[in-house]
C-alpha cells in the first residue's frame, strides 16, 4: 500500500517536472527577455495571468478527455458541425505549423552556435532529427526526456537571482500595472509586448496535446485531481522560467541598451556570468525545451487533423498502425522546415508565430470552454462556477487581445517602436 502511494507520488512529481520543463518555447523566451529589456519588471503580471490561464484551459481539456475519453476535435465536430469545426482546425493547424517552424529555426540557430555550420543545412538536419526522434522514441519517453532535460533552463533562474533583482519591485509588478510612458508609442509598444507575452504562454498546442495524451494514457475521472495538481504546480513552477528571463532582460540587457531577439542572446547572458559551462547548459536547456515544443506541436497538429477526420491516431503504437496520423506529423514537420528554409528571418518567424497564435486564440479556446461547461456532454463533471467564470473571463481577455494585436503589430512596426 505504502509502495503504491510512493509510486503515485513519484509519478505525480515526474509529471510536474515534465510540465515545468516544457513550459517555455522560443516565443516565450524571446518575448520575456525583450519585455524585460524594454520595460523592466513591469510586465511580470502578464506571465502570472498567462500561467493561470493556461492551467485553467489545460484543466478543462484534461477533464474533458478523462470524462468523455473522446478526442477533443471529434467532440468539436459533433457539437459544432463540419464547417465550423473545420474553421477551428484550420486556425489551430496554421498556428501549429508556424510556431513549429519557429522552434525548428531556433534549434538550428542553437546548433549553429555550437558548430558554426551553415544555418540551412542545420535546419535540414533538425528536420531529420525530429522525424527520427518521433518515429523511434516511445511517446512517454519523448515527454520525459525533452521535458526533464529542458529543466536545464533553470540556469536562467540562477542567472536572474545572481543579478540581485529588486524583489519588492518584482513582487509589486506581479499585479497588473501601467508604468509611466514618455510617448504614446511607448504605450503602444507596452501593449504589444503584453499581448505577445500572453499569447506565447497561452499557445493552444499545449492544451490539445495534453488532452490527446490523456486519452492515449487512458486517464480516468479518478485522475482529474492529480492532473489538476500537475497543471497548477507544474505550470506555476514553470512560470519561474519566463519570469527569470524577464528579470535577465531588465537587469542584464536593459542597462547595456541591448534588445536581444535571438536565443543566443540569452546564452550570452549566462556565459557572461558563469562562463562556458553556463553557456553550454543554457544552450542545452533551450535545445531540449524548443525541440520538445516542436515535437509536441507537430504531434498536436496531427492529433487534431486525425481526430477531426476520424482517422486512427496515436503515438503509443507503431507508425504503421496509424499511418495517416504518422503522415500528418511528418507533413507538419516538413511544412514547418520549409517555412524556415524560405529564408525568412528566424526572429521574424518567432514574432509572427506568436502574433498569429494570438489571433486564433479565441477560435481554439471557445470550444473548450463551451464543451467543458456543457452538462449534456460532461454530466456531473461539467466545469464548476470558478472554472466556468475563469474560462469565460480568459476567453474575453484573449478575444480583446486578438482584436488588438494586428493594429498594434502594424502601429509598433513589428514591435520596433
Amino acid at each position: 500500500m505504502k509502495v503504491a502511494a510512493t509510486n503515485q507520488a513519484l509519478a505525480l512529481l515526474l509529471r510536474i517536472f515534465v510540465s515545468m520543463g516544457a513550459f517555455v518555447e522560443v516565443g516565450a523566451l524571446t518575448f520575456s527577455i525583450g519585455a524585460g529589456a524594454r520595460f523592466g519588471y513591469s510586465l511580470v503580471w502578464v506571465i502570472v495571468i498567462g500561467t493561470v490561464g493556461i492551467a485553467v484551459y489545460c484543466e478543462i481539456s484534461g477533464r474533458i478527455a478523462a470524462v468523455r475519453n473522446e478526442p477533443l476535435f471529434a467532440l468539436i465536430r459533433q457539437r459544432d458541425g463540419f464547417r465550423s469545426g473545420l474553421l477551428t482546425l484550420v486556425a489551430v493547424t496554421s498556428a501549429n505549423a508556424l510556431t513549429c517552424a519557429a522552434q525548428i529555426g531556433a534549434v538550428a540557430m542553437l546548433w549553429q552556435l555550437l558548430s558554426g555550420w551553415p544555418y540551412r543545412l542545420l535546419v535540414l538536419l533538425a528536420l531529420i532529427f525530429f522525424i527520427l526522434a518521433v518515429w523511434f522514441t516511445p511517446k512517454e519517453w519523448i515527454e520525459r526526456v525533452f521535458g526533464l532535460l529542458g529543466l536545464m533552463m533553470i540556469v536562467f533562474v540562477t542567472v536572474a537571482v545572481s543579478l540581485h533583482p529588486r524583489w519588492s519591485q518584482v513582487a509589486a509588478t506581479a499585479l497588473p500595472n501601467l508604468p509611466p510612458f514618455k510617448t504614446r508609442r511607448d504605450g503602444l509598444l507596452y501593449g504589444y509586448y503584453a499581448i505577445a507575452l500572453l499569447g506565447s504562454i497561452l499557445l493552444p498546442y499545449k492544451t490539445y496535446f495534453r488532452a490527446s495524451a490523456a486519452i492515449e494514457h487512458k486517464r480516468k475521472v479518478s485522475h482529474i485531481v492529480p492532473d489538476r495538481v500537475t497543471w497548477i504546480v507544474g505550470f506555476g513552477l514553470g512560470s519561474l522560467l519566463p519570469v527569470s528571463l524577464l528579470l535577465i532582460g531588465a537587469d542584464f540587457f536593459a542597462p547595456r541598451q541591448i534588445e536581444p531577439q535571438l536565443p543566443g542572446g540569452a546564452a550570452l547572458a549566462t556565459a557572461s556570468l558563469f562562463g562556458i559551462a553556463g553557456m553550454l547548459i543554457a544552450v542545452g536547456g533551450m535545445f531540449f525545451a524548443f525541440a520538445g515544443a516542436a515535437i509536441e506541436m507537430a504531434l498536436s497538429g496531427a492529433y487534431n487533423v486525425a481526430q477531426f477526420l476520424g482517422w486512427r491516431w496515436g503515438k503509443l503504437g507503431t507508425p504503421r498502425s496509424a499511418a495517416r496520423f504518422a503522415v500528418s506529423w511528418i507533413a507538419l514537420l516538413c511544412a514547418a522546415a520549409l517555412i524556415v528554409l524560405t529564408g525568412l528571418d528566424p526572429a521574424r518567424i518567432v514574432e509572427c508565430s506568436v502574433i498569429l497564435s494570438v489571433v486564433i486564440l479565441p477560435f481554439t479556446y471557445f470550444p473548450l470552454v463551451v464543451i467543458g461547461a456543457d452538462r449534456r456532454i460532461m454530466g456531473d463533471r461539467a466545469s464548476g462556477k470558478l472554472i466556468k467564470a475563469l474560462g469565460w473571463l480568459y476567453f474575453m481577455l484573449i478575444t480583446l487581445a486578438a482584436l488588438a494585436v494586428i493594429p498594434l503589430f502594424i502601429l509598433t512596426r513589428v514591435g520596433k517602436g
Binding site: 541598451q257 541591448i258 550570452l268 562562463g275 521574424r348
Partner: protein, 154 residues
Amino acid sequence: MNRRGQRYLGIRALIAILALAIAAVVGVIKLAGASADSHELAVIVSVLRSDAAATAVLSDALARGQTGTTFARAQAAQQRRALDTSLRQLISMRVGAPLERGRVQAMEAAGRLDVLLALLERDTLRSSDGDGIAARSREVLSTMLAIERSLPQS
C-alpha cells in the same frame, strides 16, 4: 425566418465583418505610414545601438574566455542577419516605393550593411534633425563593425 434565410443572413454578416476588418487594417496601415520621419530614424539608431552593445558584450565574453570562438562568430553572424532584416524592414516601411525596395534588396545581395546605411541616409534622412541622427548612426555602426572585425577568424 427559414433556415435558408438564416444562412444568407449569416453570409451577409460575414461579408460585412470582413469588409470592416479590411477597412480597419487599411486605415491602420495608412495611419502608420503617416507618422513622423524622425521616429523611424530614432528606431534605426536604437536597433544599431542594441546590436553594437550586444557585439561588445560578446567580444568581452570572448576575451575573458567565457565563450568559444565558434559561439562568438556564429552569434555575431546571427545578430548581423537580424540587424539587416530589421533595417530593411524599417527602410521599406519608411520609403515604401518599389524602386527603393529594389535598391535595398540589391544592397542586401551585396551583403553591405554600411552601404545600406548610406542609402538610408541619402534617401530618407530629410527631417530637421536628420543630420544629427545620421551622424550618430554612422558612429554606432562603425563601432560595431570595428568590434566584429576584431573577432578572430575561424
